[in-house]
Amino acid sequence: MDNRPGPGPASGGGKGRLPHRGLRRLLVLLAAVPLPSFVLLALFALRPGRVSPPWVLATVLFGILATAGVAGLAVRRISRRLREVEGQRDSFFEELSRLSRVSSLGQVSSSIAHDLNNPLAILNEEAGWLSDLLSGAAGADGPALRAEMTASVAQIQEQVRRAREISRRILSWARETEGASGRVDLNEAVVKALHLLEGEMVERPVRVQRSLAPGLPPVPGTVAEVRQVILHLAKNALDAMGKEGGTLTLATRASDGKVVLSVGDTGPGIPRENLERIFEPFFTTKPEGQGTGLGLSISLYIVKKLGGTLEVESRPGEGTVFHVVLPAARESGEPDLPGGWHAGRETAPGG
């Protein structure tokens, strides 16, 4: 995938702009009727020497009504167009989020390969040792040979069990990616997302602090959507801490019928001038080829779609915390999806 920032479909070429030609035509048409009438009326009401107050009043009223009418029509037209543009943006983000799911699967596959190669490496050695034992290269015989072979066979069975667990995990990941919208256990999603990030963490000195409130109400959305938000935020937190590592904090809690997930790092923090831009698509401070600048905008899109908000707190030199505030899913199992894009808000208090 091309990671370089560039003019994507969101940066608003032809289709995203207001319909200049249509709007102009409309204004011309509207002005064509009331404007001349208004002028004629005004000339009549203010005939030199014969100013009649009722006509002046009528002219003023006509002027106000005509202006309001024109403005009203224009506003309706513009807001319809805005809704269309918003729809386009939503489908763009929907597509982006699908694509990023695919790319995070690619990332995760490296960790899966590692997990799977460990039992495979042991299986390889056990098979080799068994053949050493059988060929006499191991120099064992009698009861010792028997004991060695029994231990190896048991180990082969054990490692096959381990590999089967990993393959089940991959399958469940694939299934959840296509899951239906409904009620998601946020704590479980956090645990599973962390599992997928293990590969990223083992190579750097990162301490994970998990504080998951028990008995949280479920949140709306699909497991894949919720996990994607967690993965993007946690991945950003890990990247922010870099090679030096630090503490990754994942905390959940319930508050006023809402469910809050906080993802924190002990990295260098986000400079104030960047805080306002971090949710912009394609904005990234990662080295070229390492970040698409889409993780946070996709996360914000998903969170807003689920009726929630995404907030950030950052203190330079101390670290950054992202708070995902989601509504609790409705009892009926129907996803709770009020509003649309506008249901959320971004706040960047900074520090």
């Binding site: 960790s111 590692h114 460990n118 490496a121 042991i122 299986l123 050695e125 290269a137 120099g139 180990q155």
Partner: protein, 139 residues
């Protein structure tokens, strides 16, 4: 001929045990440990020629061990072992002074060939160091 003294470092206990037994059966002197700090402690107290080192270990990872090891024992040769083909880790490992890189699961022939190569390399380096000392009139 001198026997290769190999230190096998991997957090998977059974992996070190079985690979260790197979290498012993092929005439090597092998010691196994299951973490970075254990590896460094073993190197402090006993001489080794080659270290077969897993990159991904909980706590102190292979690259950290490699860094500390090369500082304290520059002549000991290191071969990295990894479960995933992370180019990044391979390059970093070479930069830190590892001789080579093996992917898990690895064939025993490949392991033996690399260990042999590392051992030869170490013997040459030791010879050179000895001559160096001799030419400077040191014991």
């Amino acid at each position: 001929m001198r026997v290769v003294r190999l230190l096998l470092v991997d957090d998977e206990k059974r992996f070190t045990e079985t690979l260790g037994k197979r290498l012993v059966a092929r005439g090597l002197f092998v010691e196994t440990v299951n973490s970075g700090p254990e590896a460094l402690a073993a190197l402090e107290s006993r001489p080794f020629d080659v270290v077969l080192l897993d990159v991904r270990m909980p706590g102190m990872d292979g690259l950290e061990v490699l860094r500390a090891l090369k500082k304290a024992h520059p002549l000991v040769e290191v071969i990295l072992l990894s479960g995933n083909a992370s180019i990044h880790a391979a390059i970093e490992g070479m930069r830190l002074g590892a001789m080579d890189y093996l992917l898990k699961p690895a064939d025993l022939e490949d392991v033996l060939a690399k260990v042999e190569e590392a051992f030869e390399k170490k013997k040459v380096a030791e010879e050179r160091a000895k001559e160096d000392r001799r030419s400077r009139g040191l014991p």
